[in-house]
Point group: D2
Chain length 351, copies 4
């Protein structure tokens, strides 16, 4: 009997770099589904893995196929799987929650204390096939195009950030216009937010922010962005801050823009501890500050599905390039150049 093999983008050893290898096609274990990947997308985390930063070194155990953003079609289903069949078009939540820890029991699987992430803790989607627990698979509506379906993981981060509190009729500031910041602009607008202010230092991203629907994009290097936003809101500050940069200065600026009684969703990942004027910016303001991680399972997916189905969300400015999986070197280069936008990787066999 011949074991089928496939091409996969792998981190073979605990060191910088990656390479295409030929590995066995995964078999569908009980409760799992094997999906033929049509398009994968590269996350900032994948760049960290590629370059093997401190976090990667502490968490990953090569060899490993990485990648966790994708869409595809069901190839085969393991024992006990009843809701999916060959040919179903799907994407997946790649965080697999344990179901038993206190957060899971409290309905907060997105911060499961024993989470296992496909593409990080076990083989992911930068390959022709990927095996995923059926519980985590999401059947795609026919009206959602592949390129949108392939980025539902980061789009879910944006939707989670925006809808973690009231948004309709709220004034909003988005600090940082990387891919998730840009998506959050489109999502907030589609959900009825009022005036939306964005901050961004890259002129290219600033332009994208406007295309996504920002009413005013400010460059924090060219004047006091916080003072400007407070002034634009008649001295009140914004109702909602969506912090998407992880940059300590931008975080502080965002809090200055926030009105008393406002809500901040923090998603951007700071690379070091951050010094905050907690008294002025959080305590005396009576602010609500929400840490945002992952996507709610699966409230966020229901919301995304609805937003994508009816074509309300226009995400096309986000997409940069579509490359073959074997051209991964160029894909990572493109992203390193710092231009916001998503690069899609297409495995062999997918058109």
């Amino acid at each position: 009997m011949t074991i089928a093999t496939m091409q996969a983008l792998r981190k073979p050893r605990p060191e910088p770099g990656a390479q295409i290898e030929s590995v066995p096609v995964p078999a569908a274990r009980p409760g799992e589904v094997v999906v033929r990947v049509r398009a994968a997308s590269i996350c900032g985390t994948d760049l960290h893995i590629y370059h093997w930063d401190a976090w990667s070194a502490s968490r990953l155990r090569p060899p490993l196929t990485f990648g966790h953003e994708f869409c595809g079609v069901v190839e085969s289903a393991g024992e006990g799987v009843t809701r999916f069949e060959r040919g179903d078009r799907v994407t997946a939540e790649m965080h697999v929650a344990c179901g038993h820890c206190r957060p899971c029991r409290a309905g907060q699987q997105h911060v499961c204390q024993n989470v296992r992430i496909l593409g990080i803790d076990q083989d992911g989607c930068f390959a022709e096939f990927v095996s995923v627990p059926a519980t985590n698979l999401w059947k795609l509506d026919a009206t959602i195009p592949d390129r949108y379906a392939a980025i539902m993981d980061p789009l879910g981060n944006a939707v989670h950030s925006v809808l973690a509190g009231p948004i309709a009729g709220a004034t909003v500031a988005v600090t940082g216009c990387g891919p998730i910041g840009l998506m959050s602009i489109a999502v907030a607008k589609a959900c009825g937010c009022s005036t939306l202010y964005a901050t961004e230092i890259s002129p290219h991203r600033a332009k994208l922010a406007q295309e996504m629907g920002a009413d005013l994009v400010l460059n924090p290097r060219e004047g006091d962005a916080a003072a400007r936003v407070v002034s634009e809101t008649a001295g009140a500050g914004v109702d909602v801050l969506l912090e998407m940069s992880g940059n300590p200065a931008a975080i502080r600026q965002g809090f200055e823009m926030l009105r008393p009684g406002g809500r901040a969703s923090l998603l951007g990942i700071p690379s070091e501890p951050v010094t905050l004027d907690l008294l002025r910016d959080v305590i005396f303001k009576g602010a609500t500050v929400l840490g945002i991680y992952g996507r709610r399972m699966f409230e966020t997916w229901l919301q995304m599905d609805a937003l994508l189905r009816d074509g309300r969300l226009k995400l096309d400015p986000l997409f940069k390039e579509r490359l073959r999986l074997c051209d991964y070197t160029r894909a990572f280069e493109l992203l390193e150049q710092g231009a916001a936008g998503k690069v899609l990787l297409v495995p062999n066999g997918a058109e």
Copy 2:
């Protein structure tokens, strides 16, 4: 015609200290009510005013009668006041909201952008009489004793902190057992919380914390309090953090104790910016962090009223001493010695 005078504890000039002065009894302006003070209580803020710290110097405009915690009986009511009459026993919310700014319009008067605080921005309650807007007066149930009625302002801080999110069945950590920390222990217990852990370095306050209902009181100088709490909660961390110290190290420790998906109410007042591991302690945890300022107008007052009426709250360990208003020097000395607890001041004429 003789103008009646009264004794008041005043800050006569912008400098340290205070003195008893004879001043005119306030007249009830339209919409206001003059209350004969039966007992006033001293807040930490009053100590700052007494010593004239930087904040006091920037905000207060002497001469001023300070003090904002009290109870008394209605002496006279101004034009247009229909709900209060001479003899009604009352206390008051001393933050007067403007009613028109965005937070006020959004139902968040406790963070009004134009708030006027009696005892800080205009004459307060360290006197025989105080004049208060009728909107801010709270009629007292006969079963609530004067000493409890006189501290409903700080008790409201505690109730606001505890009830800003779910508490029934939740495990809790209280960091810092000053008066409001101690009250929050009693409140959380009365509202059905699960195991409650407290941290405190003063042995005297630690003992009070146990009397108020804490299940375990830890001294953070005698071992890793955060590690201990995580271990006591089977590795999960607590559902709710009530940060009552304002101490940067305690704040960081509190966040370490918080479980993923947990809620932190921050009330303690840090005297400087605080450096936080935002990524680990807030973002990756998906935490909800709530700045707590003042009391919700007037949801918190309804809740306090209910908790005090039925005698569920046992706050007696809190009360230290009861002095005449003219003995204020000794009162401030007692508080400076750092023992938690409330000191009551009784004006002349009140028994």
Copy 3:
């Protein structure tokens, strides 16, 4: 000294009908503002008052100027009013809350137990001038046209209904497409709802519902609308029901359409008790059923302001005709013919 007079549409006696009378222009009492009316709009309640139904007879005390939907410009401000000045363009919340009852103290002024409604309990806006407490006045952004400003009272009902729970990404059913039902369709769509189903028996209103953004409008007389909606939602039912008809059969149908765990906002006014299958439709479904009355003070106004400012809401199909105040007979006739839509009345002196 001459007392200025004005024309007003009055209910002179407790009986059907109304008439234009010449009455004194109101003087601005302390805390009140006199507004020169530019456009008033007719509510269903005004029709009831006009015809003097049982409810009107039990509540109103003629003589009275009725009407409670309008916009205008400030003419004069009474003592103590600091935030409005002659020439400001305004509309108003005409429910005046007492501020002291338990709902008011709990932040629910919209269900104040001692509410006083202008145009019902005291003189309203079907006149050249109306006097309104400054607390209840709402300054209008220059970009909001008069016709929209004049209907912010019923628009507020719609916004309150839609935003009383999550709406972004939710499937919605609107039962009954009168003016508020139609507005709620536009509001739900502007706030990011998913597929929206509406039911309506009048072909004219059904057409309007589509113009306002409904995805599918069903005539409940031409088939089982509930079964159809359940089938369209893959057997699930809708996430949100907005009940706008008050019709018992439509209410029951609406509940049949609601999915387990869904939310129903009930705003339509039934004229009789309603028999519900509480067990199947509410209890076993774990449904959340919200009674909707008035508008939240003033959260709903902030939301409306934001939705109207940016021109997102397209309400033009709603407007039928614009008549002089003295042509009120024709205005009431138009509305009695049952066509949905708002009729504006323009007093003398307003262009």
Copy 4:
């Protein structure tokens, strides 16, 4: 090889009655755990099954072992079960959610559209052993006694009802003092509610209600209970209604007691459609009405665990009698006599 057998209380045929039969001990299938039952408790639903009412006839497919309230110890665990081992003391949520329907995906597994209930849709716990999916098993703290552990299913109904909205500081009415009504009294009190009014026509149950902590118990046959409660609350009505009777007249009375802006949890099961004054009691009141079904998975379990662990809940007045499983006839008789309280059944082999 001998197949082990056990005694089970079975519904052998679709008709009234039940009988003890000898059946094979269940084997632990993959993902399931076989539990040796120590004590089972009888639900009102079990009485319906015993008497074979219309609902039972439409849903159950005999032969079937019924019963769904119990506690026991793990006997064996099927393939893939890692968190439980022989000897663990456990109880279980007997509603098994599908995990894929819209309510499940929205975090509302308690109203799963494809729920499978053990003891109704497949074999339950009136037996020496019962097999339960590991996901639904709940490990018991050593401090929770068996009799309490055996009734966590109905206690969960009570906790879900009480904690479905704010309760601390709230005035409460409980209409109907059957077992779940009685438990909800103790739960509301333990969670810091204010004055609690109960209605009940049986003097025996009324006495139990007082023992559980009700402040005032009214017999609705001896005067206007709703008017009395409104009067006791100074004309306001209660903040929270817990409807536990299912009786249409009591439901209407409960709504009359509810204050404007209040919250009603409806858990009692009406046997017919209910006619409500929706306008007065729900819409004009701006009420929040919550259908309560089952227990939230597993937020409610975490809350129960916390309330039971610390011994705060005193439920002992509830327990009537403890009988051998084979004495089931007497057990059902006791319950039919209408006395509130829980009857425990103890299988052979359990002491």
